[in-house]
Symmetry: C2
Subunit: 575 residues, 2 copies
């Protein structure tokens, strides 16, 4: 491709509404443009990367035995009603009506459609297992789209679905696709981790996310230093401390705390160390027979954070978790947030494992501007339950039993689920088993955010000059930059020769044939993140040489003109 015939569309200024570096660089490098909130046009450089990602995903899915298909974006409401998700799914499900006022949804995912398809097409155990996938535009009407294509309303997904006769068979396919995902992210050239994850609204029993590691990631991931255990912090278990709870050594005492509503203020004004106090959070409990919801108190150590996903799964807690309104707390407890604690409560109390081994600790006294010190479990508070309801922190023991945890940030780019029979049961998707009896199929589902991978790759691979693409997904592998091409005949001739020879060698080349100053061209190629730039200048030509610059290392290599193509091809192969 010649830049003169291309839509390079690079920008010098960083657009002010782009918060994260991938969004900034995708705009600046001319990869995307915003059409409307959460809707982006992919410009040529963006599409080139997107298609390279898509092709790698497709090849590895095919190798893993998955079969490509394509389902409609527009899905009839009936199927979502059948699975129950028409009611459960929030306004992120973009519901529309056709010209006959029939209700449809624009698909954010396709469990219902594929389950309907397979219950019609597959009737015998002999046709199982089968794994199908599609690479397709998905729609999710995000309330607040942001970070460019990282959280957009229209995006590209690879979604796969597998169907089985048994859990064991599902586990085998799950393992095979887990491996395929590793192969995909290896080929994409990304630093990633598969981590244990929560199954969320998709449902199912067992799940891994694939995260591209990057400091800007929205997710926190816990890694063990003693094993390959890795889990989303949403999911990572905080083990019960091995130490027994010390015996009480202090008396329960009230003290006035007019200046302390938070753990930080308790420390600042009254010297209470955070790990010596507890936070008491009120949420709603499950509905009783009259449809009323009481409150439930959740107690975690002052330096710990509540894990909402863990809490909402507990019996007696309303799901999805909802923090109690202040008026309900005041009505029930008689005090406002900032002075709440477990002593004297009449509502159910759930205490985090780490909080449950504290002694002589501090908490609010359920009286405005008053706290207790010297609180002890059993002596001062009884009838509570103990559970894991906090996020793990750096230094916690790994739940795998080996090593301690450290926390890193990641961007979720893939997610695989052992769904079980959630959809097949609701939608009555069964086959005739070997015994001639109908048997509900067991399902798995497997997603990769194809467009999100592009942003995640940039979050992980960039510097002050722009993007640094892994070779396999770079919009171009080599950029030819002839310096002051219009001042010499020799330079354009050599540049043209390299352009045709590199193309003939199968290299994806961008030939910057604009009449621009060398600085402008270098800046554009660095911004665009082309792995190698071949610089053709008068002085080097006097020595029959050209210069090859590596975008990632900055290393410059002088190559003899006649050897350059072979050398570039070799470098691209060994990278």
């Amino acid at each position: 491709m010649r830049t003169s015939q291309y839509l390079l569309a690079t920008l010098k200024e960083t657009p002010s509404d782009a918060e994260v570096v991938s969004h900034q660089l995708m705009l600046r490098a001319g990869m995307i443009r915003k059409l409307a909130s959460g809707l982006y046009t992919w410009l040529p450089s963006g599409v080139k990367v997107l298609k390279k990602v898509e092709n790698i995903v497709r090849e590895e899915m095919n190798k893993a035995g998955a079969i490509e298909m394509l389902m409609p974006i527009i899905q009839p409401a009936e199927l979502w009603q059948e699975s129950g998700r028409w009611e459960q799914y929030g306004p992120e499900l973009l519901r529309i009506e056709d010209r006959h006022n029939r209700p449809f949804a624009l698909g954010p995912t396709h469990e219902e459609v594929i389950t309907d398809c397979i219950r019609r097409e597959v009737s015998s155990y002999k046709q199982l297992p089968i794994t199908l996938y599609q690479i397709q535009t998905k729609v999710r009407d995000e309330i607040r789209p942001r970070f460019g294509i990282m959280r957009s309303r229209e995006f590209m997904m690879k979604d796969a679905y597998s169907f089985h006769l048994s859990e064991e068979c599902l586990a085998q396919t799950y393992e095979k696709l887990h491996q395929a995902y590793c192969n995909i992210f290896d080929r994409l050239g990304l630093d990633y981790r598969p981590v244990l994850a929560d199954t969320g609204s998709i449902g199912g029993s067992f799940s891994h996310e694939f995260h591209v590691l990057a400091e800007s990631g929205e997710d926190a991931i816990a890694f063990s230093d003693g094993s390959d255990y890795a889990a989303n912090i949403e999911k990572a278990e905080a083990l019960a401390p091995s130490d027994a709870r010390p015996e009480p050594s202090k008396e329960l005492q009230k003290f006035d705390t007019p200046n302390a509503k938070t753990i930080a203020e308790l420390k600042e004004h009254y010297g209470v160390k955070p790990h010596r106090g507890v936070k008491t959070l009120f949420v709603y409990g499950e509905e009783n027979e009259q449809g009323e919801r009481g409150l439930v108190a959740l107690v975690v150590r002052g330096d710990h954070e509540l894990n909402e996903l863990k809490a909402e799964k507990l019996a007696g807690v309303f799901s999805p978790l909802e923090m109690a309104k202040e008026e309900d707390i005041v009505a029930t407890v008689g005090a406002r947030p900032g002075s709440l604690g477990p002593v004297g409560l009449t509502v159910p109390i759930i205490v985090d494992r780490s909080a449950a081994v504290m002694a002589d600790f501090v908490a609010g006294a359920n009286s405005d501007d008053v706290h207790y010190s010297g609180i002890n479990w059993e002596r001062d508070v009884t009838g509570y339950e103990v559970a894991d309801i906090r996020n793990v922190v750096e230094g916690d023991p790994s739940p795998c039993g080996q090593g301690t945890l450290s926390i890193k940030r990641g961007i979720e780019v893939g997610h695989i689920f052992q769904l079980g029979t959630k959809y097949s049961e609701a939608m009555n998707a069964g086959v005739l088993g070997e015994d001639g009896k109908n048997q509900t199929m067991t399902m798995g589902c497997y997603g990769i955010g194809v467009s999100r991978v592009v942003a995640a790759a940039i979050e992980q691979n960039n510097d002050q000059y722009g993007i640094i693409w892994p070779k396999n997904i770079a919009p171009f592998e080599v950029a030819i930059v002839p310096m002051n091409m219009h001042k010499s005949h020799r330079i354009p001739d050599i540049a043209e020769r390299f352009y045709s020879e590199l193309q003939a060698a199968g290299v994806d080349v961008l030939f910057d044939d604009r009449k621009e100053r060398p600085g402008v061209m270098f800046n554009d190629m660095e911004l665009l993140g082309v792995p190698y730039t071949l610089v053709i200048g008068e002085r080097n030509l006097d020595n029959d040489e050209v210069e090859l610059k590596n975008r990632r290392t900055g290393e410059k290599t002088m190559l003899k003109i006649d050897d350059a193509v072979a050398a570039i091809v070799a470098k691209l192969q060994q990278d």
Copy 2:
């Protein structure tokens, strides 16, 4: 691919709701399934064909210098309001609202979005010309979706758009893309014709459609036998007859025609040959200053058909053409349809060129159940206009001046337009010209119905046994059918060997490894339309031979086992 691990999904019965052969065969061959009216899931065999078509289109578009990009499916209403099409486009434009009640449309085409993109990204004449394209899901909310994916609500399009400084530059790119389209349809292996076409609701001045010839086609195309002239019948000009109008030789006479409301009945009961009578059709005229529309009479020879597109373009005729209601005709003319004619009319009369050279002809007398004979222009009717308002018929002289016309049926699979400045003017899309002044860009647009190509290919290539794929878009190139595989060790061994050797040779193979009777397997492979079937049977193996069957010709060739792979590869290359 092994059938045992594939979703073959063939059907024995022809589904009752499939009217055309491509729809029937796509269902029976397991290529598509209906999800809802006009919404289809592409099963694996369907997607394989679709992707092959898509790749050929992409490769040829790239060769022609077009650059791939990708625009959102969801388009903001504002852009359609700016172009004026938000109002003009009917309910086929599927309008939706997001969670914030903002209006959007699901894109049936992308002129607005690309024009908006280019007016932002391209500012100088130096960046022109440029041609961009995308291959993307489109949505059109058809009032009556039918013929499977031929007229569905969600479909796959390649749409391209070019931007220019001048009409001449547009004409050059148009020519280049016309050639690219020929290359595409050549590679697809289809019998097709580029034909002159009407520009319809997309607009512009000059346009070609690409038609796959098939008797089931919805469009009629006029071909010259003396040149390569070809045009959609909507567009083909009916030349003025070269003969002068004969002098009147009969008197104007009324005769009663109680049994004749139609040209056929006039012939049956009164012996009037259709080419000796005229039809007089009333449509609405343009609105006057009071917003009222009078009637206009359109007169064509009795054996000719009105061409509505030609008529609605005439000055004085309301567009889109609307046939007058009977009550309006009675109020104006004093007679009901069936007895209408040009004599004595006070409304504007437009006479087709062929009708205008008639003498002594028959028409209604504008009095119920009465006709005139011996009508002559000028003597009996004055003040009329003459224009081309009929469809051409077999035997008409070609408008190119060479040869006569014949009519064939075609399926429109591509359409290219010289748009001119319709969108760029409405949306104020200009660049700085060489003279430093702002200049409106001139545009072209170029579509291929990627999914429709699949159906059109089947309409053109099928027989009583199923589909007969052109090699380049067949779901598989070769099917291996081992006969009674479970009865012998030798057969599965040889079959496996062919499977791996053919794959290694780059052949797209389907290995039918099901435990089915040979007849079932042959039928499925013929239905699916695989170009070659390699049959492995005991008796032939005794001679070290296998049989290769050509799907299109039915020809069977015996091949020595050791030569078979090379022979198959050679056949596929030479086809």
